[in-house]
């Protein structure tokens, strides 16, 4: 087990008591699991803000935040961890400052860089889970490939307009990865980001909260090798809120990333042989 010898102080008991008495949380054992878990969140935007709030509130011990964007006023309707006084500053630092105030028991590390083939392994190494809160296909493939290579489970979500999607990738190295679902990237002109497609703040926010819930379930051990069935959740906010769970394919033996003869490895990623920009097509994404 990855539970270390840490225990909870009285102050921590008081802080987390209301969740520890919920049976599904696993009580003290579950809280110690949270405390010893290391999570890296890629993107402190519309998905990352609510995920981070609830994971830090719950007492996940170690959080990394990767984002090189700065806060803009047009982000604030959905990125509610930031505020007007932080416009122009780094999102990862703005988030860290708020999260430290929310829960000083959490150790938060910031990575004010764009995730690239060169830095992703170094950043992800040592984390137990990756939350993919990014906004371009190229970065989604990169997050997936590096996580699979390092054996990390990914909680991946996305949204635009009033809709969102969520899935768990590479579950304990047994579940399907992003490339199992999407071996071929979409044509670049078919992809719209939150900036250009627009987004209703609480709709993307709800999907971010769902990510936190799925992450807690992973840490609490609700999902096991035995009971885990690949799925994709599809949320729609308008006209009536609905949440559907699609049953998805399992790991594909032919997958270039997680299959039986992977071509996508630490070596081919770091050498640049796997070219994400070329793979997903050239296109200017406005930052979200």
């Amino acid at each position: 087990s990855k539970v270390n010898n840490e225990s909870l102080s009285l102050t921590e008991y008081q802080r987390y008591g209301r969740q520890m008495i919920v049976e599904e949380s696993g009580g003290l054992r579950g809280q110690l699991e949270l405390k010893s878990t290391r999570i890296v969140v890629v993107g402190a935007g519309g998905l990352g803000c609510p995920s981070l709030q609830y994971l830090v509130g719950a007492g996940v011990g170690h959080i990394g935040i990767v984002d090189n964007d700065t806060v803009e006023a047009s982000n604030l309707h959905r990125q509610t961890l930031h505020d007007t006084s932080r416009v122009g500053t780094l999102k990862c630092e703005s988030a860290k400052q708020k999260l430290n105030l929310l829960n000083p028991f959490v150790d938060i590390k910031t990575y004010p860089v764009r995730l690239t083939s060169e830095n992703a392994f170094e950043i992800f190494d040592g984390y137990n889970y990756v939350l993919d809160c990014t906004d371009s296909p190229a970065t989604r493939y990169l997050v997936n490939d590096v996580a699979v290579s390092l054996g990390i489970t990914v909680i991946s979500a996305s949204g635009v307009g009033t809709e969102g999607q969520l899935c768990i990738l590479n579950f304990k190295n047994q579940g399907p990865c992003y490339r199992c679902f999407y071996p071929t990237p979409p044509p670049p002109n078919s992809v719209s980001s939150c900036s250009e497609g627009g987004v209703i703040g609480p709709c993307i926010g709800l999907v971010g909260v769902m990510m936190a819930i799925e992450t807690l379930k992973l840490i609490y051990g609700v999902y096991t090798i035995e009971n885990f069935k690949p799925f994709l959740m599809s949320y729609s906010g308008f006209p009536q809120q609905s949440l559907r769970v699609f049953k998805m394919r399992g790991k594909q033996t032919t997958c270039k990333c997680c299959g039986s003869d992977p071509k996508i490895t630490k070596e081919t990623i770091e050498s640049g042989e796997i070219n994400y920009t070329e793979f997903c097509g050239q296109r200017n994404y406005n930052v979200c």
Binding site: G48, E163, P186, C194, R244, F246
Partner: protein, 101 residues
């Protein structure tokens, strides 16, 4: 002849008159069972109004990468893809994969 429900989610409804849910009846001239491949042909021939919207849906003879196809809420890869024979009441959903965050 088979009566099925077809859904266009994740913004894909723009190619079919902005309606997300359609009830359609599909027939085959040769009398064989109607499969998902036939339904896709029907969508292209009858439901997509603007011809340059076809490439939003079809690429290289199959569903465009980035679109998930579900048969009764299950990934079509588990159900035989185009070969799946439709029954009355089946629901076939197409959803664009979202990328925003």
């Amino acid at each position: 002849m088979v009566k099925v429900k077809v859904e266009f989610l994740g913004g894909l409804d723009v190619i079919v008159g902005k309606e997300r849910i359609h009830k359609v009846e599909v027939t085959r001239d040769d009398g064989n069972a109607v499969n998902v491949g036939d339904l896709i042909d029907y969508i292209v021939a009858k439901m997509i109004k603007e011809k340059n919207d076809v490439e939003v849906f079809i690429d290289n003879g199959s569903i465009r990468p980035g679109i998930l196809t579900l048969i009764n809420d299950t990934d079509w890869e588990l159900e035989g893809e185009k070969e799946y024979e439709l029954d009355d009441g089946d629901v076939v959903s197409f959803t664009s994969t979202l990328h925003g965050g």
